[in-house]
């Protein structure tokens, strides 16, 4: 079985401080994978290297049988590798629906030429995309805020919005950076359900960074534990979280 997304020996340091130290992981097609670790373990840096916001100092990243190590983030996204951010990056002054529409792949409507000519073509394109956007908005239960500026949403709604924006991209894999952080318990269950549905019916693979261990354990099939820039354990979530060295690193050995 070949992995959909894989990192091999990834290294990254800031000012001589090693943040990622020989990190390797693999996400199978249609897989649900979790990454846990203390603050500063390097999880978000790993996401940034994988999705191209940061350049790795060494190692390789492959996605869908292609080496994407040197590609800019735009190219990786177009290949179908989406990500959300720990602190939501919504387009604050655009409405929720516009946030969805802006993320869609387009043939014509975003060229400068389309401002001047071919308005009919733009309208047709727009109509089709609006239907798709509205379907996702409904799916993510954001219908009642569809016309609101995204900057006015609650933290949990912004997380859903970012997820929805990625869905417009028609991705093969989405990296979720703390989807449950600052989200109320009811919504945690709701987001989990949506992720499961997307995985089952659309075959989208997910990699999820999360501190909410209970919710994550119930969701993912494979778990990686990071500590001080290294992966210290991986495997079945329940088993991995019971390992003494994981408890020591992750809980500071208190429990």
């Amino acid at each position: 079985m070949s992995a959909l997304l894989a990192a091999a020996g990834v290294r990254k340091s800031f000012d001589g401080f090693l943040v990622l130290d020989d990190v390797s992981f693999a996400v199978p097609e249609r897989g649900l994978t979790g990454i846990v670790g203390t603050n500063g373990a390097g999880k978000s840096t790993l996401f940034a290297v994988v999705s191209g916001q940061l350049e790795a100092d060494g190692g390789r990243v492959t996605f869908a049988d292609a080496d994407i190590t040197g590609l800019p983030p735009t190219r990786r996204a177009r290949l179908g590798l989406g990500r959300t951010f720990q602190v939501p990056r919504e387009f604050a002054h655009l409405t929720v629906r516009e946030n969805f529409l802006v993320a869609a792949r387009r043939e014509y409507g975003e060229t400068l030429r389309s401002v001047f000519i071919g308005w009919g073509r733009v309208r047709r394109e727009e109509r089709a995309l609006r239907e798709r956007a509205d379907a996702w908005i409904e799916f993510l239960n954001l219908k009642q805020v569809r016309g609101k500026p995204a900057g006015t949403l609650s933290g949990g709604q912004k997380k859903l919005l970012e997820l929805g924006r990625m869905l417009m991209l028609e991705p093969k894999c989405i990296l979720l950076d703390e989807p449950f952080a600052g989200v109320n318990p009811v919504l945690v269950g709701e987001i989990s359900t949506r992720i499961r549905e997307l995985n089952a019916t659309h075959g989208i693979a997910f990699v999820i960074i999360e501190h909410h261990l209970e919710a994550l354990k119930a969701l993912v099939g494979h778990l990686y534990v990071m500590d001080q820039g290294r992966i210290i354990a991986d495997g079945d979530p329940t088993a991995v979280l019971a390992e003494p060295r994981v408890l020591e690193a992750y809980m500071g050995g208190v429990i």
């Binding site: 983030p73 919504e90 387009f91 389309s114 990625m166 417009m168």
Partner: protein, 293 residues
């Protein structure tokens, strides 16, 4: 008095074109262009030099627009790779470079002596008011076209994407779109409008010299945009009119401020415009036409 009002109206509409262009660049796309005056100057000198060389007005105007946009291309390409703050520094520096080149290249621009005798627009209508009224009308039409274009653009998918770039560039990259292409385009488009404004200016004033293109002009345009409401086309319209009221109104202020000489008055005007800007940002930070968000 009518002649004076028409003249003020023409200057106001020239500022309006500049403000609409800057509002597209900064208000909608987030590009910090501190060199508006450079593209204004390029348009002015391009059109003036061509008409003095015997070109008819219309093609000279077109070349003025295109020249300003074309010059914006390498500037945009160079600085937009870096963060937005760099664009601010580069454009401000560039506008001074343009002014100094105009000052030094006497063979072309006559340096500080300036270019006199630039043909008026509609000079066939005579020297009187008709020519100026026609100029005012032509400017109004250009502004209407620019406003119409902006209103359409910001509602289009293209306009949505540039506003997304303004809100969060990293997120735009994460959805697989390259902000640089659009930023360069918007930078050129806004600069083209500044070039057009420059051409109108040259053929209205009929005399150009480098000291008309100080960075102060850039900041007047910024003030107009901020007072009117950043990121709103109606704001650019209102702001340039309000700016004109302050610039011209303060001219009359000398009548009731005793003991101020003509030279000192120039500084008093600046102070008044500055005061207006401070009051606006304090009491109406979203600008005249802005919506509080």
């Amino acid at each position: 008095m009518t002649a004076y009002l028409v003249a003020v109206g023409i200057i106001a509409l020239i500022y309006m074109l500049l403000t609409i262009g800057l509002n597209l660049q900064y208000g909608y796309t987030g590009l910090i262009n501190f060199g508006v005056v450079a593209f204004f100057a390029i348009g002015a000198y391009a059109s003036a030099l061509l008409t003095l060389a015997g070109w008819p007005l219309l093609p000279a105007f077109v070349v003025a627009m295109v020249a300003a946009a074309v010059v914006a291309y390498p500037i945009g390409l160079l600085s937009l790779r870096l963060s937005d703050d760099y664009l601010a520094v580069v454009t401000l520096g560039f506008s001074e470079v343009v002014r100094l080149v105009i000052q030094q290249e006497r063979w072309l621009t006559h340096g500080v002596q300036g270019l006199p005798g630039i043909p008026r627009i509609f000079h066939s209508l005579g020297v009187g008011q008709y020519a100026e009224l026609a100029t005012l009308a032509a400017l109004a039409l250009c502004n209407l076209a620019a406003i119409g274009l902006m209103l359409h653009l910001v509602r289009s998918p293209y306009g949505r994407l540039i506003q997304a770039i303004r809100d969060d560039e990293v997120a735009v990259e994460a959805i697989g779109k390259d902000p640089r292409r659009l930023k360069v385009q918007v930078f050129m488009l806004g600069s083209g409008l500044a070039g057009l404004a420059g051409a109108f200016y040259a053929h209205f004033i009929t005399y150009l010299s480098p000291d008309q293109f100080l960075p102060l002009v850039t900041f007047y345009v910024w003030i107009a945009m901020i007072i009117g409401g950043t990121g709103r086309t109606t704001g650019a319209v209102a702001g340039s009119l309000i700016l004109m009221v302050f610039l011209e109104g303060s001219r009359f202020a000398r009548d009731w401020i005793p003991g101020v000489s003509e030279v000192q008055m120039a500084s008093v005007r600046l102070a008044l415009v500055g005061l207006a800007l401070i009051l606006f940002t304090m009491y109406r930070p979203q600008g005249m036409m802005g919506v509080r968000r």
